[in-house]
């Protein structure tokens, strides 16, 4: 399916991956390429295997067969080139926001003053200034999610694996984050793999949207919303191509809902 992307520099490639959980067939012969410096969304029904695919790319789960490469190196386990934003946040309940955000750096052996300075910046970026010394149970769901986001950003990995990173934040914050994300993609040469349930969000932020079939999961379609990328953030949402693509994706997804 990726004949026309052969000349593109791919940061991550996934070829013919199979994954079963016991009797449950999660992924079947899934292939997908992730061009460097771009944002790819994975869109598909709940339980279709998006988290599974992300964890396989992260090196947290082994694939049953098939090949995954990051920067042309086969994936054998987690690496410093990838950072993960977990769907269930995965925060340490006994650690403050500061320690949680800096935890990735702590595990990499960065000394305390340095890692806290970096964490401080990202805590500010996700809008949690003033909550450095709070514990996760003192935060709302959306705030916890932002802690997980800041943790992933602070390790400065080339590939960001984001599992529904905005699912629990409120609509205003969500829109702001989507715009921030667009700027991040534009300004930093990072590759984003982004799982979402929202068609609008996928079309708004993505260079390419991969639509996954229900379990066992394969890629049914890849859509590249390119025409309106150059427009400014607010006018995209009124762009006719943007609206067309949203409709088209909805039309192809609704067959699975019924």
């Amino acid at each position: 399916m990726s004949n026309n992307t052969n000349d593109i520099d791919n940061a991550v490639t996934v070829s013919n991956v199979y994954k079963n959980y016991g009797d449950v067939e999660a992924l079947r012969d899934l292939s997908l390429d992730f061009p460097r410096g771009q944002l790819t969304s994975l869109l598909g029904p709940s339980g279709c295997g998006k988290t599974t695919l992300l964890k396989i790319i992260a090196g947290l789960l082994p694939a049953d067969s098939g090949e995954i490469t990051v920067n042309s190196q086969p994936v054998t386990g987690p690496g410093p080139d990838r950072a993960f934003v977990f769907q269930d946040f995965a925060l340490l309940p006994w650690a403050t926001v500061m320690r949680n955000v800096a935890f990735g750096l702590e595990l990499r052996g960065v000394n305390q003053s340095e890692r806290e300075a970096i964490a401080e910046k990202y805590i500010g970026d996700v809008g949690l200034k003033g909550f450095e010394n709070s514990y996760p149970h003192e935060l709302s769901g959306g705030m916890r999610q932002r802690v997980g986001l800041a943790r992933a950003l602070s390790v400065d990995a080339q590939v960001l694996l984001m599992d529904e990173p905005f699912s629990a934040v409120d609509e205003q914050t969500r829109r702001k984050f989507q715009e921030d994300l667009l700027n991040l993609v534009k300004n930093e040469n990072k590759t984003f793999i982004f799982v979402t349930h929202s068609i609008e969000e996928a079309v708004y932020v993505s260079d390419q949207v991969a639509i996954l079939l229900p379990r066992p999961s394969r890629v049914s379609e890849i859509i590249r919303p390119e025409g309106f990328r150059h427009k400014d953030a607010t006018s995209i949402r009124r762009d006719s191509e943007y609206l067309d693509i949203v409709d088209r994706i909805w039309a192809s997804l609704r067959t699975y809902v019924e």
Binding site: A90, W94, L107
Partner: protein, 254 residues
């Protein structure tokens, strides 16, 4: 305000318990059941003539040694069992058996092997204290949420990091609960050893005063060991709060 009220409630409940004891002693429910006032008087006598101190010098030896061994070895073994399936198969059954074994029946065997000295008594304390510490620790380790372990791996934590920075703090509340239960059981073990092996220390006060029908002294000795256990458990709780300040807060609503 809440603190003040909780002290008040503690005081009230102590008053009710001790009051009923006094009344029951005065009726009396049994010839061998002294009143609270008699017991406390006997307690002071034993304390002031030094008997109590000499006795605890004896009793504390197997108790402290046994509890320390149980704590360190128990947590160590519990961690190993919790982290490795192989050791789980190998060792868990030993501690399950140990926990359910009728200790009184094992004591003659211990005496036969290790004699009537300190070693046998330490063994009794360990048999009482260790299983619950081991089983709690291994259970707690196994129940660490998979998602935070996965997070540690994703952010390149080494095996050591993941054990020290994720699994241990996550398991610590339950490990400490096991430690508290283990220490209480160790106290029972220490007294049991002194009653069943050779009467020394506090066990000696208990069996001697029973033999001469000095029931107030007997109850005073029993009361003193309970008191000591309560104090010890309180100290343990303080240590836990000091070591893992955030941990308890974090679990409050999770």
């Amino acid at each position: 305000m809440i603190r003040y009220r909780s002290y008040l409630l503690t005081f009230l409940s102590a008053f009710i318990v001790l009051g009923s004891w006094e009344i029951a002693g005065r009726i009396p429910v049994s010839y061998s059941f002294p009143t609270f006032v008699e017991t406390i008087t006997a307690f002071w006598v034993l304390l002031l003539d030094g008997t109590m101190f000499v006795a605890y010098g004896e009793t504390l030896k197997p108790l402290v040694v046994g509890v320390l061994i149980s704590a360190f070895l128990g947590i160590g073994i519990g961690l190993t069992i919790g982290l490795s399936k192989k050791f789980d198969w190998l060792l868990s059954p030993v501690f399950v058996v140990m926990q359910t074994a009728p200790l009184a029946a094992l004591i003659p065997l211990l005496v036969m092997i290790y004699g009537i000295g300190l070693t046998s008594k330490v063994f009794v304390v360990c048999i009482m204290a260790m299983p619950v510490i081991v089983l709690n620790t291994s259970g707690a380790v196994r129940n660490t949420p998979a998602s935070i372990i996965e997070m540690g791996q994703a952010f390149l934590g080494t095996k050591r990091d993941i054990i020290l920075k994720i699994i241990l703090p996550a398991a610590s509340p339950i490990i400490f609960a096991g430690l508290r239960l283990g220490v209480s059981a160790g106290f029972i073990g220490a007294i049991l050893a002194e009653l069943k092996i050779t009467p020394t220390g506090v066990g000696d006060i208990i069996s001697y005063s029973r033999s001469i029908a000095d029931y107030p002294s007997m109850y005073a000795a029993i009361m003193s060991i309970i008191l000591l256990a309560v104090i010890f458990l309180n100290v343990l709780e303080r240590i836990e709060n000091f070591l893992f300040k955030g941990t308890r807060q974090g679990y409050a609503s999770e």
